[in-house]
Amino acid sequence: MARLGRLRKQSEENTELNMVPIMNMFMVLIPFLLMSAAFYQIKAVNTSIPVHSNAPAPNTPVEKAIKITVVLELKADEVRISALSDQAEPRELAEMETTLARQPGGDMSIVALADFLKRIKTKYPASDTLLLIPDDTVLYREIIQAMDCVRGLESETLFPNVVLSGSLG
């Protein structure tokens, strides 16, 4: 009877979990996850540059919706916006010309720029192309910032086709 009691006492004492197999599993899982971990996410901004072509223009049917190309000149201290189109009236295009102030080398007025582009997009919803012309001194991060602004958000796309060009003339 006493022996039975001693055995019961011993089994009560040895209730600690054996962690060694779990530790072994962790030691296998951690190197595997380390190999497939992504500590930074690289994404892409699609763009193109204007190309000179001698090929004839394709015969596309005339669309009812007027398409315009917005021209955004990114200067060191200002942003100039204008529009080009062979479908719209020159008077209508002139209405879209504006200049927004910008701190030299600093952030541009994203809100004001986005608001103005939204107004153009509302007026000409078929338009999707923007010609971005930065000054020589404008930094790459500022160009990307401007591209983010003109493309718009996922919920509200503005001008997804951004063409990057040097100063004309």
Binding site: M19, V20, I22, M23, F26, L29, I30, L33, L34, M35, S36, A37, A38, F39, Y40, Q41, I42, K43, A44, V45, N46, T47, S48, I49, P50, V51, P134, D135, D136, T137, V138, L139, Y140, R141, I143, I144, Q145, M147, D148, R151, L153, E154, L164, G166
Partner: protein
């Protein structure tokens, strides 16, 4: 009698046991962190210390293409050193001599290889452009103009996710 006393004083030998609880806690935290940063396609692009990509809100994925890297010190084409960069100047890449530059020649070679029938790709050829965020447009423009002249007018600018 003295022997019995010393025998009684001797403690029972207990095998030393490792305290695994704190180690388990640490491993659990590491495991959760790694599970959150798990990616099916871990980045194949190594970013060196001379290359600081700008941040963007773009969600578009990049695709394989000709990789052009413009860091603070070097211009590389598919990991091959093409020119060195000092400030805003890229050696051997002047505005009036783009078609004689090493970059133009190498891009032309890639273009010719892509044009072979067995190398046809469903996508239009493009350049995956990795550029340091501190470069000015003057420097970038020379590189992208040269690529455009060599037959690569489409670009994917590599950026880091986040505002």
């Amino acid at each position: 009698m003295a022997l019995d006393k010393s025998k009684r004083k001797k403690k029972k030998f207990v095998p030393p046991g490792l305290m695994l609880t704190s180690m388990m806690d640490m491993f659990t935290i590491i495991l959760i962190f790694l599970l959150f940063s798990f990616s099916e396609n871990p980045e194949k692009i190594d970013l060196d210390k001379d290359l600081e990509l700008p941040h963007s809100s773009s969600k578009a994925e990049y695709s394989e293409g000709v990789k052009l890297l413009l860091s603070k010190k070097e211009l590389r084409l598919n990991d091959e050193l093409i020119a060195t960069v000092s400030g805003n100047e890229i050696t051997g890449l002047a505005d009036d001599a783009m078609e004689t530059s090493a970059l133009y020649q190498r891009l032309k070679t890639y273009k010719a290889e892509e044009a072979k029938p067995e190398g046809e790709s469903p996508q239009a050829p493009h350049v995956l452009f990795l550029c340091d965020q501190s470069h000015s447009f003057k420097t970038i423009n020379r590189v992208i103009k040269t690529a455009g002249l060599a037959g690569y007018p489409n670009f994917q600018f590599a950026v880091l996710e986040g505002e």
